[in-house]
């Protein structure tokens, strides 16, 4: 009996241990789910090749759901999904694996459960990362709908889209070449840039003329002032009646200053200008004052420095400095004009290439601009038509799973179940192999004899 117990225990424990080990080693995952409603669309009706009439032949709801399930679990579609999501993101542990293995893994992780009574396809995808699970399932649904539309829908849009894509690529290339040329040569907008430079050069030329004119007038004024300076005595005699004398001297100095100012104004303004007239009025006032005053008798012989001379001398220095500044300004302006001329010459040299590239971009853009509205209209029409005829609706987009799942409980339960089965199998296996009987009825069958009495087992009495 001990032998039997060990056998039965092994029969039970080995499957249980395997189940427990599998439960401990089982990995966990997140499962994202989505649902698609599949209606009986017109594409499932058999159409007559010669007329638009629809015959009665069509697919059964079960066949429709099965067909849609096949479209979802399509190998090419799964390859596109892997390429779009990225193998490294989808299965980091299989990043370098062959494409076929990745497809097999994705196919095994993707479960499609048709609910025939409701016409619903329940999709679920498991992955170690909840976000990847949801994104991948979304991608599967998107690509499935796209491929489905492509398979069921009109191919006119596809060919037009392809043409538009080609035109767009051409335009992109032309614009790229133009941009590269512009960047390399520092051109933003050739025409505007050129106009700006011409305007700048014109302004500088005008400015330079004004400066030259100013220089000439200042030089004239300087010559005049120098001549006056020579005629003005350096010192003057001061009388004892100093207050009276000072008034007269000041009046003469003011007269000189006013006359110099008038000359300066006349070089720039006309004789009729208000400022010149004001200065003339002041000069006449000072002159009338001097004429009314009698000649002074000097009480003493003391000489002092003539203020008129000092004023004239200061004015000479000021004019000299101003002339030098104007000359420097004129020189800088001349340099700027030369630089602008050089830039304009360079732009003139690049203009031919720039115009050629601009023309190419324009030539590429024109047909695309004419083509796109038509394509857009066609797409809208097709989309409306497709929506009207399409029989697939996404009733639940891929959910972001929050609950981690694993087969641990299942494996453990299977281990326990297999353990019980193993134990029973060991028991009955041993019994049947040894051809012994547990029940009296079994022996009755073997012997074709009646059991007269059944005596229960009792443990032997322990030895005294």
């Amino acid at each position: 009996m001990i032998y039997d117990r060990i056998r039965i225990a092994l029969g039970a424990l080995i499957p249980f241990a395997i189940g427990t080990a599998a439960a401990l080693a089982a990995s966990s995952w997140y499962e994202s789910t989505a649902s698609l409603l599949v209606l009986h669309g017109s594409e499932y009706l058999a159409k007559s090749p010669v007329s638009a009439s629809v015959t009665a032949l069509g697919l059964e709801p079960k066949q429709i759901l099965s067909a849609e399930a096949e479209l979802v679990d399509n190998r090419n579609l799964l390859i596109q999904v892997i390429a779009k999501v990225g193998a490294a993101r989808l299965y980091p542990d299989m990043a370098d694996a062959e494409q076929e293995r990745l497809v097999e893994r994705l196919s095994s992780d993707l479960k499609i459960e048709p609910v025939f009574t409701a016409g619903v396809l329940r999709l679920s995808l498991r992955n170690h990362d909840p976000e990847v699970a949801a994104k991948t399932l979304d991608t599967i649904i998107d690509l499935y709908l796209e491929s489905r539309n492509a398979a069921v829908g009109d191919r006119k849009t596809a060919s037009m889209t392809q043409q538009a894509d080609q035109m767009a690529a051409k335009l992109k290339a032309a614009e790229g070449a133009l941009t590269q040329f512009s960047v390399e040569n520092g051109i933003s907008d050739m025409a505007e840039q050129r106009t700006h430079l011409l305007r700048l050069r014109s302004d500088l030329t005008v400015g330079q003329g004004t400066v030259q004119s100013n220089i000439a007038s200042r030089q004239t004024e300087l010559q005049t002032t120098l001549k006056q300076l020579k005629s003005i005595p350096l010192n003057i005699r001061q009388s004892s009646s100093s207050g009276r004398v000072r008034e007269l001297e000041n009046a003469k100095a003011s007269l000189l200053t006013l006359e110099l100012r008038r000359k300066d104004l006349v070089t720039r303004l006309s004789e009729d200008s208000e400022e010149v007239r004001n200065v003339d009025l002041q000069i006449s006032t000072v002159k009338s004052f001097l004429a009314t005053e009698p000649e002074l008798v000097h009480d003493s012989d003391r000489d002092i420095r003539n203020p008129a001379y000092d004023t004239a001398e200061k004015h000479v220095a000021s004019l000299d400095a101003e002339i030098k500044g104007l000359e420097a300004n004129a020189a800088q302006t001349a340099k700027d004009i030369a630089a602008i001329n050089a830039r304009i010459s360079a732009l003139d040299g690049l203009a031919q290439d720039y115009d050629r590239l601009s023309e190419a971009a324009h030539t590429a853009e024109e047909p695309l601009l004419a083509y796109l509205p038509k394509l857009e209209d066609l797409k809208i029409n097709e989309e409306l038509s497709r929506r009207l005829s399409s029989n697939v609706r996404v009733i639940e987009a891929a959910t972001l799973p929050t609950q981690k799942q694993s087969n641990r409980t299942v494996y453990l339960a299977l281990g326990i179940f297999a353990g019980v089965l193993g134990g029973l199998a060991a028991t009955f296996g041993r019994t049947s192999l040894r051809q012994v009987c547990v029940l009296p009825s079994e022996m009755e069958e073997w012997l074709d004899l009646n059991p007269l009495l059944v005596v229960g087992y009792r443990e032997p009495e322990p030895a005294p």
Binding site: V436, C437, M443, L452, L453, V455, Y457
Partner: protein, 228 residues
């Protein structure tokens, strides 16, 4: 055979019920009724035989004999054919008070002696051999004369036969028994072996009335079993 002296004439007492561990009084009642229902002749000679040994044949025969004494005060013989072990004599000597009787059967190469178990009507046999290595069982039953004489003395003769594996004498004796009962051990006795014994007994002309299914284990708990 020299002479047979009947047992009786004295007050009999029941044996201590603690001597019986495995059978219950109702088991003995059920067994004797079913045996006698299918037995031939008077059904006085009942043989218990097992195929292999260790099935509990001797225990069943002994306890059956003890319980049968509680049903009647008529003499009952437990004929120990498992020669030359004499296991019953030793067991009863150890557990009860054995009183030698005057019944004696002289056979070639030895003699068959009888002992009364206490003051009960149970008598057990003991074979005393003159020479080792000779089985006198065949001589004992030849011509059925001795057995017929024993039939006259005892109301029931319970023969504990040796298993087939050890001796064929038990199978040979079955031809003279009124009923033969096989003892099968649950989960131990292989069906083909039991079948072989059954066929041999039938070939020998035994009145095979059935089998006792011994040491049966109940894997379902008792309370549940009662509900079932």
């Amino acid at each position: 055979m020299n002479y047979l002296v009947p047992v009786g004439g004295r007050q009999t007492e029941e044996l201590d019920s603690r001597l019986v561990r495995f059978l219950k009084p109702k088991d003995a009642s059920q067994l004797i009724h079913r045996i006698q229902h299918s037995a031939r002749d008077s059904g006085k000679v009942v043989e218990f035989i097992g195929p292999h040994g260790g099935e509990g044949t001797s225990t069943i025969a002994r306890e059956f004999a003890i319980l049968m004494t509680q049903r009647s005060n008529r003499p009952i013989l437990l004929l120990d054919l498992d020669i030359p072990i004499n296991g019953h004599r030793d067991w009863f000597a150890e557990n009860t008070n054995l009183i030698s009787t005057s019944i004696k059967v002289v056979i070639p190469h030895g003699r068959l002696m009888f002992h009364r178990v206490g003051s009960s009507p149970l008598v057990i046999s003991e074979l005393v051999l003159d020479r080792r290595g000779i089985n006198p069982l065949n001589d004992l039953i030849v011509g059925r004369q001795t057995l017929d004489q024993l039939r006259d003395v005892f109301s029931l003769i319970i023969a504990d036969a040796p298993p087939l594996k050890e001796s064929f004498e038990g199978v040979a004796f079955s031809a003279h028994a009124d009923a033969t009962v096989m003892v099968i051990e649950a989960e131990k006795t292989r069906a083909p072996v039991a079948q072989d014994l059954s066929e041999r007994l039938k070939d020998m002309g035994a009145q095979l009335v059935g089998f006792v299914f011994n040491k049966r284990r109940y894997y379902v708990p008792d309370y549940l079993y009662r509900e079932l």
